[in-house]
C-alpha cells in the first residue's frame, strides 16, 4: 500500500514538475526578448545629442533674450541711471529765486554742481556752484512754492457741565462741588 502511495506521489511530482516547466517556458516566451542594436545606438545618439554644445545653444539664447527683456523693461520702468542728474537744473529757476528772497531760514542751499572728470570743468562748475549758492538758498526740488496759506477755523465748543451726583446724606459724606470746565477753542495765528 505504502509502495503504491509512494509511486503515486512520485508520478504526481513528476507531472507537477513537468507542468511547472511548461509554465516557466510559457513565461519565458512572454519575456524572452533580445535587445536590438537600435536600443544601444538610440541611447548613444540621445546622449551625444544632449552633450553637444549646439544643443545647449537654444537654452543660452533663451536666457540671453530673457536678460535683454528684463533690462529693457527695467530701464523703461525706472528710467536711465544718468537721467535725474541731467534733468536737474544747473541754474536757479525764478521760482527758487523767489523762494530764496523769503528768508534764508526756510530753505537750505543744496544745489549740486555737475560732475566732470576734467579739472578745468570741475573748477568751472565749482565756481558756478559757489555763485549759485550765494544767490540761491532754496533746494532745486521745491520748484512749486505756491502753497496756499493754511486757514484754521476756530472750534466752537460749549463748556462741559458736570452733573452733581446725588449723595445720600445719611452716609456722612459731604458732596463735592465741581465747577463746570471751560474749554477754550484753539486759535490759529
Amino acid at each position: 500500500m505504502s509502495m503504491r502511495n509512494e509511486a503515486h506521489g512520485l508520478n504526481e511530482r513528476r507531472e507537477s514538475n513537468g507542468i511547472d516547466k511548461l509554465i516557466d517556458d510559457a513565461a519565458r516566451q512572454i519575456v524572452g526578448a533580445e535587445p536590438s542594436a537600435a536600443l544601444r545606438s538610440g541611447i548613444r545618439e540621445r546622449i551625444d545629442r544632449r552633450s553637444s554644445p549646439w544643443m545647449s545653444l537654444p537654452a543660452f539664447a533663451g536666457a540671453g533674450a530673457l536678460v535683454v527683456v528684463v533690462l529693457v523693461v527695467g530701464r523703461a520702468l525706472l528710467g536711465t541711471p544718468g537721467e535725474p542728474d541731467r534733468a536737474r537744473p544747473t541754474h536757479a529757476s525764478p521760482a527758487i529765486q523767489r523762494a530764496a528772497t523769503d528768508g534764508p531760514d526756510k530753505a537750505r542751499p543744496t544745489i549740486e554742481p555737475e560732475r566732470s572728470e576734467r579739472p578745468e570743468r570741475l573748477e568751472r562748475s565749482e565756481r558756478l556752484s559757489r555763485r549759485l549758492a550765494a544767490d540761491v538758498t532754496a533746494p532745486p526740488q521745491e520748484e512749486d512754492p505756491v502753497i496756499p496759506p493754511l486757514v484754521i477755523e476756530p472750534l466752537t465748543t460749549e463748556p462741559l457741565r458736570a452733573v452733581q451726583i446725588a449723595v445720600d446724606v445719611r452716609s456722612g459724606v459731604t458732596p463735592i462741588e465741581i465747577e463746570p470746565l471751560q474749554i477754550e477753542p484753539l486759535r490759529s495765528e
Partner: protein, 213 residues
C-alpha cells in the same frame, strides 16, 4: 662592456612613437569604475554599462509591459534617465539594481497609462502553432496547445503574481534582485511565485489538461 653601458646611459631606448600603446581591456573594468568615468561625462563608459545591462533592463520592461515596442522605449528612457541622474547615484546599491529600479518604475507608469492598457488589450504574444500535423505530431500539438493556454493563464494573473513569475523567468535576476526591483521582501517574492504557478496549474486543470492539486 663599459662602452655599451655608457652608450645606453647617453642614449636611452625610447618607445617607438609609431607603435600604439597596448589597449586596455574593458572587460576588467568594474561597473563602479565605469560609473565613475560616466559621471565625469564619458559617454563611452556609459555605453559599456548599457552594453552590459541592456538585456536585463529590456527583460524587466518586457515583464511589466509584455510588449516589445513599449519595452524598448522604456529601456531607452530608463538608461537616459540614469545617465542624467548619475550625479545623484550614491552607489548604495549596484548600478544594475539601480537602473533596473528606474526601468521598473517607468514601465509601471507606462502600464498605468491608458494607451498602454489599450495596446495590451489586443493579443500580444503569438504562440507558434503547427501548420501541418502528421501522424506522429499529436504530442507536439498537445504541448503547443497546452503552452498557449499556459500563456493565456499567465496573462490573466493578477499583476503582482504575474510580475513575480515573469521576472523570475527572464533568467536575469536572483530572488534578491527581484525583491529589490519590486520593493518587497525575498519571502514575498517566493510566495508570489509559488502562488502564480498554483493558479496557472488550476486554470490548466480546469481546461482538463492536468490534474492540479
Amino acid at each position: 662592456m663599459a662602452v655599451a653601458s655608457a652608450f645606453r646611459r647617453t642614449f636611452p631606448i625610447l618607445p617607438d612613437p609609431t607603435i600604439a600603446a597596448p589597449r586596455q581591456s574593458i572587460h576588467r573594468v568594474t561597473d563602479e569604475e565605469l560609473v565613475l568615468l560616466a559621471r565625469q561625462g564619458d559617454p563611452d563608459a556609459f555605453d559599456q554599462l548599457v552594453a552590459r545591462h541592456q538585456s536585463a533592463v529590456l527583460r524587466a520592461a518586457m515583464a511589466a509591459l509584455r510588449n516589445r515596442e513599449d519595452a524598448e522605449e522604456v529601456a531607452q528612457d530608463a538608461f537616459i534617465r540614469a545617465w542624467r541622474s548619475l550625479g545623484r547615484f550614491r552607489g548604495e546599491s549596484a548600478f544594475r539594481t539601480w537602473v533596473l529600479r528606474i526601468t521598473w518604475n517607468r514601465a509601471i507608469s507606462k502600464r498605468r497609462g491608458l494607451a498602454g492598457w489599450l495596446r495590451r488589450a489586443t493579443p500580444i504574444v503569438d504562440v507558434a502553432e503547427p501548420v501541418e500535423i502528421g501522424e506522429g505530431q499529436h504530442a507536439g500539438l498537445h504541448t503547443a496547445e497546452l503552452q498557449r493556454h499556459a500563456v493565456s493563464a499567465i496573462q490573466a494573473l493578477s499583476p503582482k503574481l504575474r510580475d513575480a513569475l515573469l521576472l523570475s523567468q527572464t533568467g536575469e535576476y536572483q530572488y534578491d534582485e527581484i525583491a529589490a526591483i519590486l520593493g518587497i521582501p525575498v519571502g514575498t517574492v517566493k510566495w508570489r511565485l509559488s502562488e502564480a504557478r498554483r493558479k496557472v496549474r488550476e486554470k490548466l486543470a480546469a481546461l482538463g489538461y492536468v490534474d492540479a492539486k
